[in-house]
Symmetry: none
Subunit: 202 residues, 4 copies
């Protein structure tokens, strides 16, 4: 069955292209990114990319989808074994921190797609956002079930939590804070979410 080997090779190559594409797109943005460079980095011929992706746009979109799956998986896995709401939200925060620093390529690509100008890219990035919100809403609902929280609009609350969590991480990073420094803010941010600004970080 050479088919399986081929299938595997094919998938491996696809992954390699996507990985290099993410790096190139993150470094230069969609327009300035160079298909030739991506091919070179992936160790394949210029034309070969077009055997795996329709065109540059398709490559970008496929890469975006791949990244989204990875991120969602990363976020999900983080939350798996935790118990109380405070802890869960802190884990969520730390998951974003880790992504922002260790997968900064894909995070940058995702953000530029979200706030960029290409409608299709934006739509794909928005889909990831909805997935995030769904996960957070689930956390909040369980918190409500456990009596840790009383909240009349879970959707809005989830959006607020996402905005605060993700955006704080990104902004802090942009302002030059290190991964460690930001991680240390986890409790404070969750305090804000649960009890508001005035509450001191005990």
């Amino acid at each position: 069955m050479p088919k399986i080997v081929d299938e595997r090779m094919r998938e491996a190559t696809r992954r390699r292209i996507i990985r290099e594409a993410a790096s190139e797109f993150a470094r230069l943005g969609f327009d300035a990114a160079n298909i030739n460079t991506i091919a070179e980095q992936a160790g394949i011929g210029k034309g070969t990319i077009y055997l795996y992706f329709e065109n540059k746009r398709d490559l970008f979109l496929s890469m975006l989808r791949f990244i989204a799956q990875e991120h969602i998986a990363a976020i999900r896995s983080t939350l798996a074994a935790t118990d109380n709401l405070q802890k869960r939200l802190e884990h969520l925060f730390r998951a974003f921190v880790r992504l922002a620093f260790e997968e900064s390529d894909s995070f940058n690509v995702y953000m530029s797609a979200l706030y960029g100008v290409n409608r299709a890219f934006k739509d794909e990035a928005t889909r990831l956002m909805r997935d995030y919100i769904a996960i957070i809403a689930l956390i909040l609902e369980e918190g409500q079930t456990n009596g840790e929280l009383h909240c009349d609009d879970i959707e809005a609350a989830a959006l607020m939590v996402l905005s605060l969590t993700e955006s704080y991480v990104l902004s802090a990073r942009v302002l030059g804070q290190t991964e460690q420094e930001i991680n240390q803010q986890a409790r404070r941010v969750v305090q804000l979410i649960l009890h508001g600004l005035s509450t001191p970080v005990s």
Copy 2:
């Protein structure tokens, strides 16, 4: 005194270029934006732009600075006459909503600069972010002075407020909510800031 008239003309042309540049850059992003189109829209010759700006990059940067000033002014003016902390934060939120919808061009440009890949653009956008934070820090400090708030790290708090406020507006917009719908969330968002999630919107 023809000098003054010339100066005025020059400044007016500069403004016109920047305005059209903002529209074009917002529509297409930095790379895909076309200098020719900008010149045409501004009613000047193709080469004339280079009498006002070094090159495309410089034009983008200048536009970014101009936008930043406008935004800061818009945010500042909104907060001028208000008194209590809750109100002030709600006004801040609404100011962001207005910018996100009525100056969506410049807002998009700003966001793509912030999360984009060009270091110089990012730096400029970051400077705007610091200005936002300074304004918010001021508000919070006055709130503390007035006993409306107790907060041990004003800087971190300001960053949280900015993240939540701005990011909520943008995310909600991206998710398809209307200006009105988002505005109605003002109180809820400020409630979260001041008292945390559990507090019901009274």
Copy 3:
């Protein structure tokens, strides 16, 4: 004797490739025609074509030869059973009409080879033209033998007859006339050949 079967298979495949090549070349011209498409249409693998033909050029040339044989056979068969010169020339004309409409693919390919730019293609097409002329010369000679015609330079006459006959058909088709309309001109054209313009079509 598997050899014969294989030979037959091989020949059949060759024919199939040539048939599809004719269609593709007629549709797109030599350069724009796509080897892949031809292979697909012929129901074989992309690489297989190169087991039958050296390269694209060779395929085109082989196809041209095949077409030429078919055309000559078509023209010959048409003239087989006819008797008097007038009739024979009319049949010739109608044979061209039929080819131009029912084998328009190959006719177009032939014309573009004849007036195209590739020397080798042109030579091949010229060979077909010589065959046509030989056939027409034969007709004229028999006409002369039968006393239906007096003509001092058969070669030149044959070329004139070919030019008029074939070119009239093609031009009329290009100008939008239908197969029927052109067929109805058969007598008129032959009248011109035999008696000149002034003679009315009786």
Copy 4:
């Protein structure tokens, strides 16, 4: 008035591009022709062509129109001062001979457009054909007026004359005859037109 100079320069450059384009297209055909080469030959930058023509297709079409005008002018001028029908038709024939040899580039381009596969090119070439027919029809009508000819369908007759004249020249050239040799056939061809094959060339 630098405008006039500019206008002249512009027109001169346009002509130069078209001339080189004709040569390149005649040499290689539409697809294989190279825009870069044309630019080089015309002594201008690669991008400059696109200031004069939309794209390759537009360049080809413009060149085709230019050629058509030149040919029509050439044919017309030839017929200007002649008197009797026989002479006129001989002049027409010789005009085609001259074009086929001295403007062989444009003639080849025209024929490949006429029998090629691109609809737009074909349409343009067909327009030239109609112009030819109109001119010939005029000649025949005057011949009829002068009693040199009796002919019930001038249009069909004109098409026959064109087919025979032009196609004879082209076919003879393709068969390797020289300009002189073909020119010597002028009388014979016109004899055929006027009196049919049997009439000896007196």
